[in-house]
């Protein structure tokens, strides 16, 4: 082959800026570039027509833009995508060898590179990255095979990181290994404390596992327990160790992923996990995992943050601790840690802050006059918050005679005010719509809350539905959870009685259809018009949250707020729609990630995305998330027969 010359080099330089060409070895790309043909298209000139046999080339926009359209059943044209500089189209021929599924028309004067398929095929077969790019349907137009969000996500992760030179090390998905036996210092329950202490000291262990004769774990005692109880004279060193052990022991299967171990420790507020053969307390203990083991394996650690929040004496130190949690989020996002894990961690941290703030407020004001329950609403209620957003919360207290309620409300408003202020200081801004517990309207006894929900369910006005979408995702965080359970069962009872409510809620979920695609620095709407900023919350996330909520209610699933878990549950209950629900959940995960990254980049809540700041791969991944949204909206339309609702 001739060495490449200036003209071929220019084509090469253009192509290598864009995926998937930037994934191709330089020599191979040069060779490919040298075989390109350049075409000029007049505005409105058609390059290929739907159902035409495929050309021997696929196309890349060099300059200008190309519209892809499909015929509709009514004989009109439906916009499928708009390709701008660097976008690939007409790839159907490359992979499926089928006729074109859409018509390509130059939207303006355009230069287009035609890339010979015969030369590209070996690259596709040889490079897993390039194959993944096509499998994920990142090229413009209708995907060849129905590509899945899983492919999109895989491509987003796999191809996205190929830009960075260092490999991503994902500590959290690593398993934590503690040598079998090595981590196991155990004795029987009748062993004396003295002997147990001696054994711990000999083996230099911070704990002693207590097991029965079959080696099943019964309890655990730590050097702290011993010091506190024995030294304080509460027990004698000749008493059996079972006197001071903590039981039951929290168990986990051997070699757990770091993330699981961490969640267990945080949930159960323990520093030791006993690994058993099958992960339950009814099997042999094989080792003990300590928080220290995790710290060593991981470095910085959310458990530490949470412990600090729980133990801090100075309420003013909370904001600084909360800021450190944000660094954690960034680190996790960079490491491609799963979104549900990050959201879990952040929820635990936020909950710890709320609990700490409430305990502080109770200390200031004295014992609460009535039982109450603090409710988190919205994304915090759904356990889906990654970055701090405006606070949405409410307070529910038990019913009493009118005077008692009035008095209690005065107390709880003061309590809520202290907590709301602490949350503000921790970076959770005031809710602009004032949906906060210190607002008297949202600080009410159980019967008033029942009235609210009664009204929202039986008289679904626009305002009711808006409230419903916020208040339906409440989650008890602190206090008497029995109160919130009573409210929940009241709500479900009424929903099952009121046949008009769910269709209205479903209709509300269709208010904002997702956009179609990205074009240069704009969002392309289905009607073809362009917008320069993208409200990812309103246009892409809320529609999925709303859909998941109404479908869950329709299936009589109670007490599940989290959008991922709702979709998982729905997939279980409706196997024929399982794929769609999984797609939707994955799309939601990708959007949460982009929103958080956008927020961290710009020090905002991340809600408004500027297409300018997205690279080609990010745009393509996001564009692919729009499809499950419109699919699920279609499903709502059919299921609730919304066309009759007017």
């Amino acid at each position: 082959m001739k060495p490449s010359n200036t003209i071929q080099e220019r084509v090469h330089e253009f192509l290598r800026q864009y995926p998937p060409f930037n994934m191709i070895r330089e020599e191979q790309l040069r060779k490919l570039a040298s075989q390109v043909r350049v075409m000029y298209l007049e505005a409105e000139q058609v390059l290929f027509t739907q159902d035409d046999p495929a050309h021997a080339y696929f196309y890349v926009v060099r300059q200008g833009s190309v519209r892809l359209e499909q015929r509709t059943e009514e004989g009109g044209q439906r916009l499928v995508d708009v390709c701008d500089e660097g976008d690939l189209f007409g790839v159907r021929a490359l992979i499926a060898r089928k006729n074109y599924s859409s018509t390509a028309t130059a939207a303006e004067e355009s230069l287009v590179y035609a890339v010979p398929i015969a030369l590209f095929e070996p690259i596709l077969n040889e490079s897993p990255e390039v194959a993944l790019y096509f499998a994920a349907g990142f090229a413009a137009g209708a995907p060849v095979v129905r590509s899945s969000m899983a492919d999109t996500n895989k491509a987003r992760v796999g191809l996205g990181t190929s830009y960075t030179s260092h490999p991503v090390i994902n500590h959290l998905e690593d398993v934590v290994k503690v040598g079998a036996g090595k981590g196991l210092v155990a004795c029987t329950p009748d062993t004396s404390i003295r002997l147990a202490a001696q054994m711990m000291s000999d083996k230099d262990s911070s704990f002693m596992l207590v097991t029965d004769e079959q080696n099943w774990p019964l309890g655990i005692t730590t050097d702290t327990d011993m010091r506190k109880r024995v030294v304080a004279g509460l027990v004698s060193i000749n008493d059996p160790v079972e006197e001071i052990m903590s039981a039951p022991v929290i168990t986990i299967a051997p070699d757990p992923p770091m993330a699981d171990a961490l969640i267990h420790m945080i949930r159960h507020k323990v520093k030791h996990l006993c690994m058993t053969e099958d992960g339950t307390a009814q099997s042999k203990a094989v080792g003990v995992l300590t928080e220290h083991d995790l710290l060593l394996a991981q470095g910085n650690n959310p458990a530490v943050l949470i412990t600090e929040i729980r133990q801090t004496k100075d309420i003013n130190s909370l904001p600084a601790i909360r800021d450190r949690a944000e660094e954690l989020v960034l680190k996790y996002l960079e490491q491609e840690v799963s979104i549900s894990f990050i959201a879990n961690i952040i929820t635990e941290i936020n909950d710890a802050i709320i609990v700490r703030a409430l305990q502080h407020a109770e200390q200031e004001l004295g014992e609460p006059p009535l039982r109450y329950c603090w409710l988190s609403l919205g994304s915090e209620g759904r356990e889906e918050q990654l970055l701090r957003t405006d606070q949405d919360n409410a307070l529910l207290f038990e019913d009493q005679h009118a005077a008692g309620e009035k008095e209690a409300q005065a107390y709880f408003l003061k309590l809520a005010d202290i907590v709301n202020e602490i949350l503000i200081s921790c970076g959770f801004e005031k809710c602009p719509a004032d949906m906060m517990a210190r607002n008297p309207k949202w600080c009410q006894p159980l019967h008033t809350w029942k009235q609210y929900f009664y009204h929202w369910i039986h008289e679904p006005t626009e305002e009711s539905l808006l409230h419903a979408s916020i208040f339906f995702d409440y989650r008890p965080v602190y206090g008497d959870f029995n109160l919130s359970r009573q409210l929940t069962s009241y709500i479900y009872e009424h929903i099952s009685q009121e046949h008009i409510f769910l269709p209205y809620l479903a209709k509300h979920a269709l208010q904002s259809p997702p956009p179609l695609s990205f074009f240069r620095n704009f969002i392309v709407e289905r009607g073809g018009e362009h917008k320069d900023s993208f409200d990812i919350k309103l246009r892409a996330m809320t529609p999925l949250v709303d859909a998941a909520r109404v479908l869950t209610l329709d299936n009589h699933i109670t007490g599940e707020n989290n959008t991922f878990k709702r979709f998982a549950k729905l997939a279980e209950l409706e196997p024929k729609n399982a794929l769609l629900y999984q797609e939707a959940a994955m799309a939601y995960e990708i959007m949460m990630r982009y929103r958080a990254l956008n927020g961290l980049r710009n020090h905002t809540s991340g809600r408004y995305l500027n297409p300018n700041q997205l690279n080609k791969l990010e745009r393509q991944a996001l564009r692919n998330t729009f499809k499950p949204i419109s699919d699920i909206q279609e499903l709502l339309q059919v299921r609730f027969q919304l066309s009759y609702l007017g």
Binding site: N5, I7, Q8, V36, R37, V38, Y40, G64, E109, L111
Partner: protein, 233 residues
């Protein structure tokens, strides 16, 4: 008339002698099958080219580099592109070295003029030659021919993109109003929204001119110009 024709044929016959290099004999043979005036434009073989020279006088200045690319069927064929540097025997007067970014040292690595000429002629064959102010570039190639002792000239049909643009943009009669500056390659590319990175090398200019040709061919089609004869008249 018949005499004139005889003389012409005679001269041609005379021109091809044993001393004529093989490539020029082949060129001459190929020219017999040059596209005719009736050839539809989509079938015409175009070679868009540009030369970089030591100056603007074809009598004394020398060719330093040639860049060219083939256009066929409304497409620029990147695989059919040509580029060479010419090593001139005499120290070139590098007046325009700054413009072209060609340094004497680079030119040392070029082909001897004889080889460069042969390679270029073999590349173009009987294609229609296209260039921005193509007459100058053709004159420069003719000068190379003379240097190499070939007593002949290029006989390809040719298209000057600047002239073609003027013709397609202006209706007959308003030519006196046009400003030459509006028909420079830079101005034309800007006007037609064509990418112009890497200008001022022979290849870069040839590529930009090739894209300009695609645009002009498209304009011509709108004017119902379908054959080569209608385009070059």
């Amino acid at each position: 008339m018949r005499d004139w024709l005889k003389r012409l044929i005679g001269r041609e016959a005379e021109a091809i002698t044993a001393a004529t290099p093989m490539f020029w004999q082949q060129y001459t043979a190929a020219m017999a099958e040059q596209a005719s005036a009736k050839t539809p434009l989509v079938e015409v073989d175009f070679v868009v080219f540009d030369t970089e020279t030591t100056g603007l006088d074809p009598k004394i200045d020398r060719v330093l580099s040639i860049g060219a690319v083939r256009v066929h069927g409304g497409q620029v064929l990147i695989s059919e592109s040509f580029e060479c540097l010419v090593k001139q025997e005499e120290t070139p007067q590098l007046k325009s070295a700054e413009v072209h970014g060609l340094l004497s040292k680079q030119l040392e690595e070029g082909l001897p003029e004889q080889d460069a000429l042969e390679a270029f002629i073999r590349f173009t064959g009987n294609a229609v030659l296209v260039g921005q102010h193509v007459a100058f570039d053709i004159a420069m190639v003719n000068q190379m021919l003379r240097h190499q002792g070939i007593n002949d000239k290029l006989r390809n049909r040719s298209i000057d993109t600047a002239q073609l643009a003027i013709r397609l943009e202006h209706r007959r009669g308003d030519h006196h109003t046009l400003k030459p500056a509006e028909y420079s390659l830079d101005a034309l590319c800007a006007r037609y929204n064509l990418p112009t990175d890497d200008r001022h090398t022979a290849s870069g200019d040839a590529f930009a001119t090739a894209l300009l040709l695609l645009k002009l061919l498209s304009l011509a089609r709108k004017r119902k110009i379908y054959t080569l004869g209608e385009l070059v008249k």
